[in-house]
Symmetry: C2
Subunit: 209 residues, 2 copies
Amino acid sequence: MTYTYEMDGAAIYAESFRTIRAEADLARFTADEEPLAVRMIHAAGMVGLAEFIRFSKGFATEARSSLNAGAPILCDARMVSEGVTRHRLPAQNEVICTLHDPRVPEMAREMGNTRSAAALELWRPHLEGALVAIGNAPTALFHLLNMLQDPDCPRPAAIIGCPVGFVGAAESKAALWADQPVPCCIVEGRLGGSAITVAAINAIASRAE
Amino acid sequence: MTYTYEMDGAAIYAESFRTIRAEADLARFTADEEPLAVRMIHAAGMVGLAEFIRFSKGFATEARSSLNAGAPILCDARMVSEGVTRHRLPAQNEVICTLHDPRVPEMAREMGNTRSAAALELWRPHLEGALVAIGNAPTALFHLLNMLQDPDCPRPAAIIGCPVGFVGAAESKAALWADQPVPCCIVEGRLGGSAITVAAINAIASRAE
């Protein structure tokens, strides 16, 4: 028996988003935030994600403006940078992941930190006005917060802070939410990860569904 | 105030896996399956994932043997292929994703299917004995099942079927589980995705934690 199934990508997206909007409690999101939440839920395959998503005031607007102005997107992992849909970007924005730069292992040894955290030191020349997307490593988010304690460190426009897991993820996101050095978005607790982070970026990049 | 946090990657992994083993109900998994389930839960940030994970008999053994014998890993999305930790692979196995092959858009138009499904047609020369990893597109998993209805289609050694989402994901995984053309692993229902799929691959590739 041959399987029959929906083969039209646009129809699949439309039905997916309809289902999410029918099932998820999205009432507390603004009109600017709602499409981001919908895509994040879509990537997670879980309407219950909604209750853990937090946007600081102005996050969606600031993040969109930065991309429209040509800002780069700085990602902590290749699974994040590879997931960004290039044709959605409004200004052919650069998507940068420094994790596999050959200098990183030695930098990590010197810093006594993970490679994910050390790789952020290579963000400095790109950081001013950038959209930051941390979707994997809690150590990267903690290190970013420590970098931003220095008033001379360049400021990104906005931070998506969605590392996932059992050690440091909940804590690093709580720290970002408490600090709010710039407008930010988090998924509270252990949930998060590259797919949810990519979904937020893709929704910021374009309103097209 | 500067944040202090665990900066040792090995310690973070060890504590994460300890937490998962303390919290998750893993009793129904065999000794061969348990490390796969633990890593999949780790990637999801959710101990509740355990109840949705299904391994067919012999899956873990077959999948491991195929990689040890040098089989390639065929991935439906770049977020999957990019996530595979190369130094864990036992035989410098090839990791193949054909989604961005320039022939794919035209093939998809001709087939009246998604690019994710069309890209699988380019797997045929690599499919015999391969480890297949579908972590994104339900249409890819449905198309693979239809390809395998043809007895002349080469057989992979094992299939990780973990597409995510609201249209076709649950259905395509249920179809794989009912058919079992070769040993397979699924996450029942809507949950799944590239991170969980990559975690399964990385656990199959090496027992190192």
